[in-house]
Amino acid sequence: MRRLTLAAVLLLGACSAGPAPSEVVPRNAAAPQPADASTVTVAPSSSAGPAPSCDATASLRPGPLPPAGQMPAGSTMERVLKRGRLIAGVDQNSYLMGFRNSFTGEIEGFDVDVARQIAKAIFGDEKKVQFKVVTAAERIPVLQHGDVDVVVRTMTITCQRLADVDFSQVYYQAGQRVLVRRNSGITGVDSLKDKKVCVATGSTSLGNVVGRAKTTVSVPNWTDCLVMLQQGQTDAISTDDTILAGLAAQDPYTEVVGARFTEEPYGVGIPKGQEDLVRFVNGVLERMRGDGTWSGIYWRWLNRLGPAPAPPVARYRD
């Protein structure tokens, strides 16, 4: 009898299937991205139009430098002198060029030393400078609004930008290259066709690389690109060799590959129309070239790019 019952139960059981055992379904673990990261499909409108042709790197010839603390009356430099400090737009995220020293909290780097030299020429004291951190995209607006006296922030002199701001002579000659993970198989800009590349918003690098990579993502700062590279969200970063050297120094698992495929002459950005300040800054740069200060600063920050090249040759349109 019991066997019969058991058989009946088994038979019934075979017919009616129980519910499937429950599963724990995880919430989709979306990887975090740097704030304000966005995908770029077309080059920014400013560089899309036909670039005005000009002799971009020819600047204004400097006169003799006035002694520190005695600026010509009515000049832009005198206004800065009276204020008591130079206001310089710099970066705090580009290692070696302009970055925050996390031990002291001070901002340092090649660009920062150039700004300090300008302050030294005005005040005789290189500490009389207030640094305002600006992103790549903010460089031209802060100059136009007069928020800063100068911008020394890996800023490439272009004809496009010359329409909005003035530039000093070239103080550093950089060129665009590519940073990748070691052994990634990427050998330069030409092997980016099926890859994702990261660049900073508002940089000349953006226009140079859009269209040469499968996807281009733009972020506010270059270190945001390094975060994306480390988190596997981008395959490469492409920008000036100076900035790339700074990024590579923070991650031994990366390397800079390929040859320079652009020329990026850096100039000190100055508000449009302040010719006296342009000539003054050019005078400061000439002096830096002449007395070895330029080479000293290069050695201090950029020696990992190789032995100090000759400083850029000044070109003037008078």
């Binding site: 640094f131 992103t135 270190t223």
Partner: protein
């Protein structure tokens, strides 16, 4: 149909036949009264029970959960502000900031595990992303220790994750839990249904008395009198208790409104602090943060004003004073930073007013929560014993009316 309708017709005939004779009518009345008394008793008990249930829910579940949700938000917000401050200090992070951050994360986790039991869906994002957040912070720290600026980028990414995902989820959770408190308070509403039925029962007893007096020429029927008295006592008891409970629930509602305003003020305080710190971290590029600071400060001032209107307590007064002092220091921080005195500005941010304001709000919230808990406890005490009392009275009513009518019925034998 024919077969089916036969017995029903027979029953109807028997009942109408009974109702035609006086003893039959009396027997019917007994049945109806007993049933009505028990029904009314049961209904009152049920509604009292429901109120009790709602109050218990309020005291032991909804309010603690709402508090836990608020703690999740607060701890996360504080952790983010503290991480930014630690970065700002330069050099190695001060140990007290690191401890504060660790305490915040532990607190957020503990509060989150309390809230998870009741709202697993709402806490899913928090549970999934909090470890990601802490991972990013640790990566930022590691890079910072090596002097790499990429540390700041990790900090920004972490902060972005906090602002776009974790805090909105925590906010949603908090809203859901406070809504639940409001719903539990609605549950403990005035029991119109059971009071109406109890009143109808009293009227039925009085009508029976009148009918009996007319039929038997005897003025009073003791059994019915006892039954009526019991029904009236039961009605008064249930009504009084309900009114008391309503008053306490209303008081608890205003207490939880106070908690809500103060909790929002506390969150606004922490948000403003975060924005203030980030303005300095951004170092000249922080106009958005400063704008946010001004907006959040205005909201905070409004919330403190509202808290003062709700209850003019000492803690709220202190909070307002510390808020004003903080705003003054903030003014000086902005002036110093705008004038290029960055290090002075950073030194000024280490002032006691923000912490004092936070402590004042903690005290005020603690007091408002105690008020809430007291009101609910009083309401629960009022309800205690009501169920038993109402049931006993219902039985007395049933027995009284049966005995009263039984006497009359005996006279017809």
């Amino acid at each position: 149909m024919v077969i089916d309708s036969q017995p029903r017709q027979a029953l109807v005939r028997r009942v109408t036949g009974l109702a035609r004779s006086t003893p039959g009518r009396l027997s019917l009345i007994v049945v109806v009264l007993v049933m009505a008394s028990l029904a009314s008793g049961w209904l009152t008990t049920w509604s009292v029970n429901r109120q009790q249930q709602a109050l218990e829910d309020l005291a032991t579940r909804s309010e603690p959960l709402a508090h836990a949700a608020q703690e999740v938000y607060r701890a996360l917000q504080d952790a983010d502000a503290t991480a930014a401050s630690a970065f700002l200090s330069g050099g190695l992070e001060p140990p007290q900031l690191r401890q504060r951050y660790e305490a915040d994360i532990a607190q957020a986790q503990a509060a989150l595990s309390v809230a998870t039991a009741s709202s697993p869906d709402l806490t899913a994002t928090l549970a999934a992303q909090l470890p990601v957040y802490t991972g990013l912070i640790e990566t930022a720290r590691t890079n910072n220790r090596q002097g790499f600026p990429v540390g700041a980028a990790y900090l920004r990414e972490a902060s972005g994750l906090m602002r776009t995902q974790l805090l909105p989820s925590a906010q949603e959770l908090y809203r859901a839990e406070t809504d639940r408190v409001a719903r539990a308070q609605d549950e403990a509403s005035f029991p119109w249904g059971s009071v109406t039925v109890a009143l109808a029962f009293v009227v039925a007893l009085v009508l029976t008395q009148v009918y009996l007096t007319r039929k038997t020429n005897r003025l009073l029927n003791i059994g019915l009198l006892v039954a009526t008295a019991a029904a009236v006592v039961s009605l008064l008891w249930a009504t009084t208790v309900s009114v008391l409970v309503m008053r306490d629930v209303a008081a608890s509602r205003s207490a939880s409104e106070k908690v809500d305003v103060l909790a929002q003020a506390r969150i606004a305080t922490l948000t403003a602090r975060g924005e203030e710190t980030l303005t300095l971290v951004a170092r000249g590029a922080g106009q958005t943060y400063e704008k946010n600071f001004v907006a959040v400060s205005e909201r905070l001032e409004g919330l403190l004003d509202r808290a003062k209107q709700q209850e003019n307590s000492e803690a709220v007064d202190h909070a307002m004073r510390h808020f004003r002092q903080w705003q003054q220091v903030h003014q000086r921080i902005r002036e110093a930073d705008d004038a290029g005195q960055y290090n002075d500005a950073v030194a000024l941010i280490d002032n006691p007013y923000f912490d004092s304001l936070d402590q004042d709000l903690v005290r005020a919230i603690g007091k408002a929560r105690q008020d809430f808990s007291d009101e609910v406890a009083v309401a629960r005490a009022a309800l205690a014993g009501t169920v038993v009392g109402v049931l006993v009275l219902a039985v007395i009513s049933a027995v009284g009316s049966t005995m009263g009518l039984w006497q009359r019925l005996k006279e017809y034998r």
